[in-house]
């Protein structure tokens, strides 16, 4: 098994927020782990969105809902005309916000908690990878 690309792989995995990667082949098995799960960061954490150019105050970034797998991103169900969770809509934990299509299979991108959809972060019909940011969710407690 070639181990030439571990550094590159690690960078990609970190960029995508992947904390565990396992690859099995006929001659061996590669296991890369590390980094904290970004989803486990407190929702108020603002490292990612501090505007460094003008030192604007840190806006609460909300919660990034990410792609659980690779697939074609659908914000609207193939049988419907309206999005599953348009910006501004209130959603409850577990509700399906978007879909990833793999052939005939539709895998949900679900709300990790109650909240309001702040923004759709990708494009309907785009091929997205594991960990791609799909939706920004404002948690319920921050709305009032």
């Amino acid at each position: 098994m070639p181990f030439d690309h571990i550094e590159e792989l690690s960078t990609w995995l970190a960029d995508a927020g992947i904390t565990l990667f396992e690859l099995s082949g006929p001659t061996g098995r590669l296991r890369l782990s590390g980094g904290a799960d970004p989803k486990s960061l407190p929702p108020g954490s603002c490292d990612a969105v501090t505007d460094r150019t003008n030192n604007a105050p840190c806006r609460s970034p909300g919660l990034m809902v990410t792609a659980p797998t690779v697939g074609i991103l659908l914000y609207t169900h193939p049988m419907h005309d309206t999005p599953l969770a348009p910006p501004g809509s209130r959603v409850s934990v577990g509700q399906v916000l978007a879909l990833l299509q793999i052939g005939a299979l539709l895998v949900p991108v679900s709300a990790p908690q109650d909240g309001q959809v702040a923004a759709l972060l990708s494009t309907h019909g785009a091929l997205v990878g594991f960990g791609t940011n799909i939706i920004e969710l404002q948690a319920s407690k921050e709305l009032d």
Binding site: P78, M79, H80, L84, I102, A104, L105, L106, V107, S110
Partner: protein
Amino acid sequence: MIEIMSTGALATVQDIGRRGALKWGVGVSGAMDGLALSAGNILLGNSEQAAAVEVQIFPFEARFLEDCAFAVTGADCNARLDGVPLPPWWVQAGKAGQVLRLGFPGRGAWPASRAYLCLAGGVDVPVVLGSRSTQLRGAFGGLEGRALRSGDRLATGADREATSSGFGLCPPAVAMPMRLDGLPAIRVLTAAEYGGYTQEATERFWREPWKITPQSDRYGFRLEGTPLIPAAPIELRSHGIVPGVIQVPPGGQPIVQMRDAQPSGGYPKIATVIEADLWRLGQAPIGSRIRFVESSWDEAVAALDANERWLAEARRLVDLYRAKRGRH
């Protein structure tokens, strides 16, 4: 186990059908949309033979008396579990006490009229003549040979896999659309008496839309259009017929035999809906219009293969997804 809380008429237990019983004069019954039923069973990891509830009149409500995964396929009927909307063609875990409500089917991308509530393990009713399908005319099969009523309880088979939930399938109506001039297209083979109709009649048969009249049900769809008149009166002895056969009674308004069709009839047959498209017609709502498209024998067989390929691919992807999730 689930309890039916409220249902309109004619919700029945159906599986893929009672094959091989025509020789005793027993019709095939089974789901009007066999692809939707099979897809629901695939989502749940059920056997192909598992039975489900076919819902034709909405709204429909059922309560889970125990934890049980379920799938809703067929018509997009705004399914809600304790008020939380579920996408169409979706499998989900139901918890004891939760209420599933199927609302009126939407007229969205795919206007359809029948929904399937599939349960992990399948609806457990006795197998009669090789099938669990309700045979309403003979009053056997399904639950006591009758349509479901409020208060009925349906048990599920023990043979169920670990609860899986929260994913779906893109329906074949989206993946394999068939339309002509904006209307659903149904492929048919010409039948024995086709040549007995005037050229004008056969041209109209292909060229004009046919409306599904309110006198359409699981037994047959009565269509409305310009009457089909034979060149000379056609008289036949009763002979065997199967679902899909398009008969033309003397009035000239065709009847398509559907799943609960009796196994014999004497009207002339102008054409036969190919088996692969019976689900498309079975979902056409009353009042909607369809078009007939001529198919060859080879095309009809290829269409059946295409359905099988869709199901095989769905089964492969669902099995992969369930296996992957099973590890976590």
